[in-house]
């Protein structure tokens, strides 16, 4: 595991440039409003003069510029090239701040049935998490949770909203 981390570290620092030059997803979603239950929201909306602490959710979200979120097709949980680029940025951040821990949330759109959507959210959260682990992020620093269709980001009932809601979101666990 250690050896792999080292390789991943050097890899990701190389990848960092490429990842940063990429344009963020077309519709950049807002900073996630929904954080894990036991994660106190850090002051991303409170006006503070100090820079957000590295490893905090506010710091992570501003560093990601939307790359904290991975979008999925209906009923799918595969990682495409755009997702991979965003996950590389997440991994790079997590490797840069080795004490940071994160929750990967899995979500589904409302156009599904309750139980299946919970299972689908599990799949998506784990797909994103596994990709982060493959990039060298220690599994012990990542937890997953499925919210199924319970926490939509976009509230309209149309394709555009559903596309935003079929997602995984990586959220830093507060310290």
């Amino acid at each position: 595991m250690k050896k792999r981390n080292m390789i991943a570290l050097s890899l990701t620092s190389a990848l960092a440039l490429a990842a940063c030059s990429r344009t963020p997803p077309e519709s950049t979603p807002p900073v996630p409003q929904d954080v894990a239950t036991n994660t106190p929201t850090t002051g991303s909306t409170t006006p503070v003069s100090t820079v957000p602490l590295p490893g905090s959710q506010a710091h992570f979200a501003s560093a990601m510029m939307g790359a904290d979120t991975i979008l999925f097709d209906t009923d799918r949980f595969n990682i495409d090239s755009e997702d991979a680029a965003a996950l590389r940025r997440q991994a790079e951040y997590l490797l840069q701040y080795p004490t940071a821990t994160a929750t990967v949330e899995g979500h589904a759109d409302e156009r599904g049935t309750r139980d299946y959507n919970l299972a689908l959210g599990e799949r998506r959260a784990n797909a994103a998490k596994n990709y982060l682990v493959s990039l060298g992020v220690p599994e012990s620093r990542l937890r997953t949770v499925s919210y199924g269709e319970e926490r939509p980001r976009a509230t309209a009932s149309n394709e555009a909203a559903w596309a935003q809601n079929r997602r995984s979101v990586t959220v830093m666990i507060g310290r």
């Binding site: 894990a36 049935t113 139980d115 689908l120 799949r123 784990n126 499925s146 509230t155």
Partner: protein, 451 residues
């Protein structure tokens, strides 16, 4: 719960009852808003007169005494019977009030002119032990004869159960179907905006009465299922931040995890005998169905073992088979397996997706969510044949059977707002109506007839 005791009915001459108390029959109904035209079914007129009392005395069941309680008893019977499409009942507010003596000797001349073929009489009596005895009589007005009678001794707090038993007696005698009114529903009460919805576990009687919130809404609750003896509710809660099934004991308020595991568990289902609970558990993202003893003993048995999503599950009434959903074919479809996980085979081959299947308590049908554009409630045989859609709205989901297998509850979500309400429809697709609940409602789970 105090047991309902069958009581031999004695006839005692009593005081003339007081005049009918004020009552708005619409206040009693948990169910309202008739959606489909069911006039063709409403062919049997039933007059349900206020129940008489031998002596109008104080009772904890009604602040105005047993005579007023008799009126309320008849109102509950009336509201039960008026919503299933088989009958054209007339309630106590529109009828003369029989005397106690007339309970067993109807004034036929009064009733024959009221276009009611059937007549329900009853009485309520306060006993020395603090309980109530409620009698229920069904008469054929044309033949001027008694069809059936029954009586029950109930604690004052359970007076509505006696009324539901009376409605069940009438319904069963006239329709030939099994009873279902004396039963309860667990569901999820919903409040708040779509992106910050509060979801609470709640329970109510089959007519919406005795409504009670069980969780306070601090953490999301989903997918409740009553144990067959109504002592416990298995449901999903995010109370520790993760989706997990808890088994909540209604009397003590205590709850335990369905299984000690750090993996998320969801979609709880009881076996018909209450000995087992099915749950779905995701391990490293892969969801399969497991079976565990409801008392927590023994080790869980994994029933499915595929890399695809296998979720939910509903036992056949004899407990020998389980219908469940799986996307191993590429989309959600319904499958049947033996209760030990063997002999898995797909049964849904009619186009669209098959989700959240629920086996009828009568065994002859499986209700499910049919996804083909819109989400509709549909039924099929256990072999997957004779698929019939019972509803047609933007998003109907989560069927739950009435104890007698004649009616299906489900929840309907509105496009846009995401607001949900519980509806029910009968097996013919007729008599669709919305249940009245204090707030938004989803995930209905109808329990069996109470003992």
């Amino acid at each position: 719960m105090k047991k309902l005791v069958f009581a031999a009915l004695f006839f005692v001459f009593g005081a003339v009852p007081a005049m009918a108390q004020e009552a708005d029959p619409d206040d009693e109904g948990g169910i309202s808003v008739v959606v489909t035209d069911d006039s063709a079914w409403q062919d049997i007129g039933i007059a349900i007169a206020s129940f008489a009392t031998n002596r109008d005395v104080a009772t904890p069941a009604n602040a105005n005494g047993t005579a007023a309680l008799g009126f309320e008893l008849a109102s509950v019977v009336y509201n039960d019977l008026r919503f299933n499409g088989l009958f054209r009942p007339v309630g106590p507010d529109a009828l003369p009030r029989p005397t106690y003596a007339q309970t067993t000797a109807p004034a036929w001349s009064t009733w024959s002119g009221r276009s009611a073929e059937m007549l329900v009489h009853g009485f309520v009596r306060a006993n020395d032990n603090g309980n109530l005895t409620v009698g229920c009589y069904l008469y054929d007005v044309v033949l001027q004869t008694e069809l059936v009678r029954e009586g029950w001794e109930v604690a004052p707090g359970e007076w509505r159960r006696a009324a539901h038993r009376c409605a069940d007696l009438v319904y069963s005698r006239l329709s030939g179907e099994s009873p279902f009114f004396d039963s309860r529903i667990a569901y999820i009460a919903e409040t708040g905006p779509k992106d910050n919805r509060v979801k609470r576990l709640a329970i109510m009687d089959s007519d919406g009465a005795n409504h009670r919130f069980i969780t306070n809404g601090q953490s999301t609750a989903l997918s409740p299922r009553y144990s067959p003896d109504y002592s416990r509710i298995a449901y999903l809660s995010y109370q520790d931040g993760n989706p997990r099934i808890y088994v909540y004991e209604i009397d003590s308020g205590r709850q335990t995890l369905v299984t000690e595991s750090s993996n998320p568990t969801f979609a709880p289902r009881w076996s018909p005998d209450g000995r087992y609970i099915l749950y779905s558990m995701a391990v490293a993202g892969n969801t399969d169905i497991y079976r565990i003893r409801a008392d927590g003993s023994g080790t869980p048995l994994r029933l499915t073992n595929q890399p695809s999503i296998e979720v939910g599950g509903s036992f056949s009434p004899d407990g020998s088979r389980i219908v469940f959903e799986s996307d191993q074919s590429g989309s959600q479809q319904c499958y049947v397996m033996d209760a030990d996980g063997t002999n898995q085979r797909r049964i849904s081959f009619f186009g669209g997706r098959c989700a959240s299947p629920e086996w009828s308590p009568r065994g002859d049908q499986i209700a499910f969510t049919h996804i083909a554009g819109n989400f509709r409630i549909a039924v099929m045989t256990p072999e997957g044949r004779n698929m019939r859609q019972l509803t047609d709205a933007w998003h109907d989901e989560g069927p739950s059977w009435a104890p007698n297998g004649r009616i299906i509850q489900f929840f309907r979500t509105e496009q846009g707002s995401g607001d949900s309400a519980i509806y029910q429809v009968d097996l013919t697709g007729e008599n669709e109506r919305r249940l009245r609940t204090p707030v938004g409602a989803s995930d209905p789970a109808w329990g069996p007839v109470l003992n």
